[in-house]
Amino acid sequence: MKIAFSLDTVNRSYQEPNLNRTALKFYWDELFKLVGAGGFDAIEMPFSAMPKVRSWDPFSKAQLEARYGGAEPFAKQLKEAGISKVAGLFFTPSVGGPFGSASVASADGFVGGMKNTAEKLLAYAEELGCEYVIISASPEVSSMGGLLEKEEEVLDKLAAAYSELADKAGNIKICIRNEFWGILRGDKMHDFMAKVDERIGYCVDLAHVKIAGSDPVEFIRRAGSRIGCVSLTDTCFEDKAECWKQPNPLFPVTGATQIFRDLGQGGIDLKGVFAALKEAGFDGWATVSNRQSKQVSRGILRARYALNALEEV
């Protein structure tokens, strides 16, 4: 198994660190060094089809070229920070925006939009030398409006689109993430994956699986050889009030909480998870994902501590 660290730990939308800081070059220069110093020699990155203006984040091809001079100088900078690889990229499709509002969105529009962005994602992943990409099965169900009434049609079209994407993916593994707020939450994912092209893998996102009410260890056993990558996320959140149905489920209406904890700070049975992955013969990428981290550098070290405590790693 190979371990990477996801730059989704940088919260670019919310307060800490503020947007001005994450726009700056020195912020990213230092972050790469901190990730390397934390013992992670590979990273995962979010993918932005629309680059953020005034930002040094490397999450789009346009930004990479404008700010870093392209993939080669970027790789050189990462190497100097102790990072030898961008292992993967991820993105979540949306409803609305170019595809119209949720109430009038069509299955073709939603899936077509996903595919269009996924093709750009694959092109960027190839340029960076990635081994996997993660595509979320859906955005929050609360944003899907009328599409939820056409769920079967949406899933059939998604499955077909994933096959077409796999034709173009070359050596890049396409993995599907099932967020706890999405249409394939929890164990629902297994039925869908049974119908999907064998080249498509699971992205086992531990916290999402657990919040949706499934046992991550059992989930891994069922996914078995279809696991394409793992997102090492942690959580203490129990969705007793079905916040997964609300808009912006990252911020539950039932009370403020940090849904995603830094790795090792939540209730995920990491020992059990690593044992199950070993049992499944998984030799792909398992990526630490400290989403919503309150202190990025502290989170890097917390994750390293948690991993060090696991003999299997």
């Binding site: 800490e16 947007l19 001005n20 700056l24 070059k25 990252l250 700070q265």
Partner: protein, 310 residues
């Protein structure tokens, strides 16, 4: 105590506040025992704003999606008002209105922000008069200047009709810059187009802050008060092709009032001379600690500036 002439607001650079209130604050804090829990709700930020002695906030259009968590703009306004604060207005960009074909789209876009300001009971719309110089093909041509004037007049007329004062808010890296700044102010219709004096931006462009205010006080209806340690920057910096506002090494153009080199006491003497009445927004963009910036600014206002004019 004599009535105050200046009402201070604080620019809401907190950007995204996911919660309206946090009833479970103590539990939330204990999750990780950091100060993060203190900066996640509108209630907290509004309380800090009032606690630091400000009378209002200025909002960004980008805050609108998060304001929607209140249900409506009116609900947001009512909530802010219930905290004892007002909303002075908002900031926005004009867009590429220096190109004639773009004017209708730019005007339509700004109308939406005018409507937002009116809906939250704001008085001011402070507008950056164009795109960046280096990225937008500066310098402005004669046609570009004419189009900018026409565009601003049309936007300002709509704003005036909706009870909002639209003020040019120039920026040191804007396509409207030192060579045509005053010309455009003078050529716009004073009935519709006012001016928001951003003390740092205008000084970085190369104007003397006090002279500029003295000369244009009759157009200046509000302020963005911020300091700078870098006045009168040369053309090659302001006109850089890459966005000069964001410097690679973290260099800050803007500082809290009193932490730079601008002559705020001199400015306030002139505000007294001209009898300024209205909102002045403290803006601390670039700060790594907005609460400290808010408290520091308040300290400077109350211990230095208030003694000159309040």
């Amino acid at each position: 105590m004599a009535e105050k002439n200046i009402k201070y607001s604080f620019m809401n650079h907190w950007k995204t506040l996911p919660y309206k209130e946090i009833p479970n604050f103590r539990d939330f804090y204990y999750e990780d025992k950091t100060n993060y829990a203190y900066y996640q709700s509108w209630e907290q930020i509004l309380n800090y704003t009032l606690g630091c002695g400000f009378e209002g906030i200025e909002i960004w259009p980008m805050a609108a999606p998060y304001i929607e968590t209140f249900g409506s703009l009116k609900d947001f306004k009512d909530y802010v008002n219930s905290k004892g604060l007002g909303i002075s207005g908002s900031f926005c960009g004009m867009g590429p209105g220096h190109i004639k074909e773009n004017i209708p789209a730019c005007v339509e876009s700004v109308k939406k922000t005018v409507d937002l300001v009116a809906a939250v009971g704001g008085r001011h719309l402070n507008i950056c008069p164009g795109v960046n110089y280096g990225e937008g093909g500066g310098p402005l041509t004669e046609d570009g200047i004419r189009n900018t004037i026409d565009c601003l007049n049309e936007m300002g007329r709509y704003a005036e009709d909706h009870g909002v004062l639209m003020g040019i808010h120039n920026e040191f890296f804007c396509i409207m810059n030192k060579d045509n700044h005053k010309r455009i102010i003078e050529a716009t219709d004073p009935k519709y187009v006012h001016y928001c004096l951003d003390t740092a931006q205008v000084s970085i462009i190369g104007e003397d802050l006090c002279t500029f205010y003295d000369d244009y006080h009759d157009r200046i209806v509000t302020f963005h008060l911020k300091d700078t340690a870098s006045p009168k920057m040369p053309d090659e910096v302001r006109y850089a092709a890459s966005n000069p506002e964001i410097q690679d090494d973290g260099w800050r153009w803007f500082w809290e009032p009193g932490l730079g080199v601008l002559d705020f006491p001199g400015l306030f003497k002139l505000m007294k001379k001209h009898g300024f009445k209205g909102w002045a927004t403290v803006e601390t963009d670039g700060s790594p600690d907005l609460l400290a910036s808010m408290a520091h600014s308040s300290y400077y206002i109350h211990t230095v500036l208030d003694k000159i004019y309040r």
